[in-house]
Amino acid sequence: MDSKFFKDLFKKYYEKIFDNYKIIEKEFNINKDQYIEIDLDKNIYYNVFNINNSEVKIKINNNDISMIYNEFNIIGKVKINILINNSGNLRIYNLYKVNNNSSSDSIEKIYNKNNVVLISKIFIDKNSENSEGKLSQYLLEENGISILLPILDIENNKSKGFHGSKIFKLTEKEENYLKYLSLNKEEIKNILMREFNFI
């Protein structure tokens, strides 16, 4: 595992500073519902999650220049809910590998106050039949720049992949309507945050 691997993954979004970063590897074997919180520092994180018929909630916090690669090996029926809370400069790659006769329902929520590049790939190989990978992305930005790049790589024609994304933002007209109902800017922001957290 070296920086070339990550350069190939992130391509133009890779920055030279990552060449000097330490790579921290971790493996999680998950057979029951679990909550995991990860605080990032100036490192590259390489995580492998082997998930078997469970629901996993992951919260990733970043306020520096960091990179994280998550590989999800999915067996059976799996739900993954990831909240990315970023106020730094973050590169994140999520790879969802859905095995034979398995399904993943993944939600990625990104609350971004700075810069984030998120590459999310659903991969179902040619030997994995009757499998399904679903990815829903929700973005709430606060003066940030977000680049979301979803990829569906489905090699077996008896399997399916889905992707959808939504930006949590109000138009001027929508904000105006809420002002006419006596809500100020701060209250409008709080409501939006509340709805974002509800997902």
Binding site: K173, N176, Y177, Y180, L181, L183, L192, F198
Partner: protein
Amino acid sequence: MLKIEGLNVYSDNKKILENINLEFEYGKLYLIFGPNGSGKTTLAKSILNDESLKKEGKIFLDNIDITNEKTENIAKYIFYSFQDPVEIENIRTRTLLMYILDNFDEKNILSLGKDLGLPEDFLDRGVNYNLSGGEKKRFSLLLSILLNRKIIILDEIDSGVDIEFLNKLKYYLNQFKKENKIVILISHNFKFVKELDIDKVIILIDGKIKYVGDKDILNKIEENGFKIF
């Protein structure tokens, strides 16, 4: 009392309203009537100090100058229902109501919603999201009831709706009067407004007030059009 003095209103440097002087008293129903483009909606929005409008003149609510007050602050006392309410997919109706109501009583709200003909799941939908035009008007009426503001301005809430809703609207307009609110209805609908217990009719044409008086004027307009002014 709501008092408007010497109001001129501009939008994109164009004068939309000229020298508007009006007084509205509690416990009364006012009809603002006039042809399309006469400035009725602009008048309503200028009371709430809409950011898109430039104003000269003064507006007082209970002797307090609200001319330059922020819209969201004025809205604590005045409810305005839009002609064409916007759909907000990202905010559920339930969440909005929990924020703006002093007391969120779900059972009561659902019961009222059902009575007004709203879909069963309206609380779980985005605000006005995927509601028909008529349903959006029903939701506006629901808001006017729940928010309980001292002044209610309903902008063409009687257009594009069925007879059942019009009957409900008639009932609530009377209720609002009994509750001593100032009720201002903006309408084009002759047939409907003639059935209402209107205290004063205000005719607005080309941004100017042409008439303030009783509702007998509506029969004359219906026979002869606005050219009588």
